[in-house]
Amino acid sequence: MQAQSVLSQRSLALRIFIFVILLVLSVPFVFPFLWMLLGSVKSINELLDVRQFFPTTIRWSNFREAIEYQPFLRHYANSIYIAVTVTTGTIFVASLSGYAFARLRFAGRSTLFILLLSGLMMPVEVAIIPNFFFMRDLGLTNTHWPLLLIPVFGARGVMATFIMRTYFVSMPGELEEAARLDGLGPFGIFWRIMLPLSGPALGSVAILTFLHTWNNFLEPLVYINDVRLFTIPLSLNNFTDGFNIPAWHLQLAATTMAVVPMISVYVVAQRHITNAMAMSGLKG
């Protein structure tokens, strides 16, 4: 009994200690968001005035001005449609080939798979120069096509294929056999039986692809220069040009509009998102 209570006292003390440490450590993680939220409703003068931590009046108009400063809503729509299209495309391409590499038997399967995996060793940053000129020769720079095609079919998609294959490999074979007996062809088995059962893997691929596409910066920066075609990361970086009034307050307002929905989605779907991230790490 005595030992028990000493132990629990020690453990309580330890917990409080841990709690305090975590509290201190969380400051640099929370403060930027606080700074962003406060700055997003300040006037430019207040933002530049070091004595003003809190805004004196809350300027909701910053959000409207940010939208008017450049076609921010259009950038939002661009980002959403690109992220959704890339995600859908990746799911389709990766689950098809992931399934083939896992369950279909064809000559050269493992050689081709290893070849494909070598794509993982070629980060997009390496290929950006030749891909730019390739896209230019196709007449596709300054359009959204490079942002749609390269992630789905290039090295990023290989990662998704890898995740899908790992999942399909782990599925029991009886289902397929039963389906074959029912007269389903390989595509039927894939589409009607296996794909509907691969929810967790599809979810992971979807979450990872969406997040990556949504946050992608280098490729839009290189391929896009028409402001109407901007995605959100480009848009956020476009609020501080010197010839205009440097609109740091509007930049923070726009950043808030870009970040808050993502965080809300994360908080709601937290478990799925962290699982997906953990899975990508474990598999990749």
Binding site: S198, N225, D241, G242, F243
Partner: protein, 424 residues
Amino acid sequence: MRKLFVLIVLFAVAVAGIHAGGNQETNDQGDPGSIDLRFTLWSANAAHLEMLNGFADAYREENPNVTVTFETLPFSEYTSLLTLQLAGSNPPDGGWLLEGTGPTFVQSGVLADVRPYLESLPDYDYADFSPDAMSLWVEGDRTFAIPFSTSPFVIFYNRDLFREAGARTPQELIASGDYTWTTFGESLRTVTSETGVYGFQGQNGQPYSSRIWHTLVPFLRAYGVDAWDDNGPNFDTPEAIAAASLYHQLIFDDETIVPPGERSDFFAGSAASTINQISRVPTVMEAGFDWDIAPLPGGPAGPAHVIGQAAMGVFNASRNREAAIDFLAFMTNQANVETMAQFFPPARQSVLEAGALAQQNPNISPESIVYVEEGIQFGTVLPAHPRFPQLDLSAQGAFDQLWQPDADVPQVMRSINETLSSFF
């Protein structure tokens, strides 16, 4: 799960469809005779764009099949974005060009020769452009761009802050016959010590990155040297070292110039003066304080004048080159150059001589507009270079050594000079 998948696909297709529709709307080329011209520029100022779009509308009245759009690219990335567009699949038809990159563009062969067409127009009067103003854009008997803005740099200052601090204004210094960076620097120090506000901000708050020259060259010329000439950079000369020492002292010892890494905005009242051109008058009009302009301070070498120039050219890559050149001719004709004088001091001598600058700028006092006219008359354009983009990037890196509080200025200037001499 499958239903969800199908739903997602449908959604994607729908969104993509909507978007594609939106694109078609903007790129509508249904009518075979219609021509869309696109000109790039680096200003997003509403007043500038209103004026330019006014030209586009007026042009459309005469040429109903031609639509002109102006596309703003951020200044700090302007040359690279324009180059990428030109290297890409959908090049613009024309665009603004910055003085420093004049030789870069002229020598690269991407610009169309506009002289034959302009000289063929009876009312255009090509000879009206002063040869000095044209020098960057002419090679032999070919002309690759028309300068629409030959705008001297001036000091903008916040009279309220100078008054509050009891600091001597540039006008007072001029009256006393001693208006140099040294005496102006004393005023700036007074402003800072009395009001707690920075005395001076480099141009557009970017003097340590994409706008090094706009603030540095005025210092250098006041001491009698330019940043570079045909023989190489001049940063290791005693004059340049003296100029840089004063600049450095005002930033780091006197702490009156906004230092690197610090945000500040003259137009928001957080710096008492800055260096800029009259194209920024619409911005300062909205600032809500009493302001005026003054000439650049002088130095041991007497008064200094620096001109920033912007020209408009047409690209060979344009699919509608003739139409683009015709619009260029329209935009730079007598009447429109006069209109532009409200922001962009003209290179047309007839317009200057007719006093258009004063007429078009009612917000600048007649005494002050004289400074602008003198600047045009006595000034020379900022230095240019055939490899300006590379030189500029290289210089931004090299000058970082100078923007340190404990920099050994003479040594740093010599090191910068060595780095940049590889361009000559």
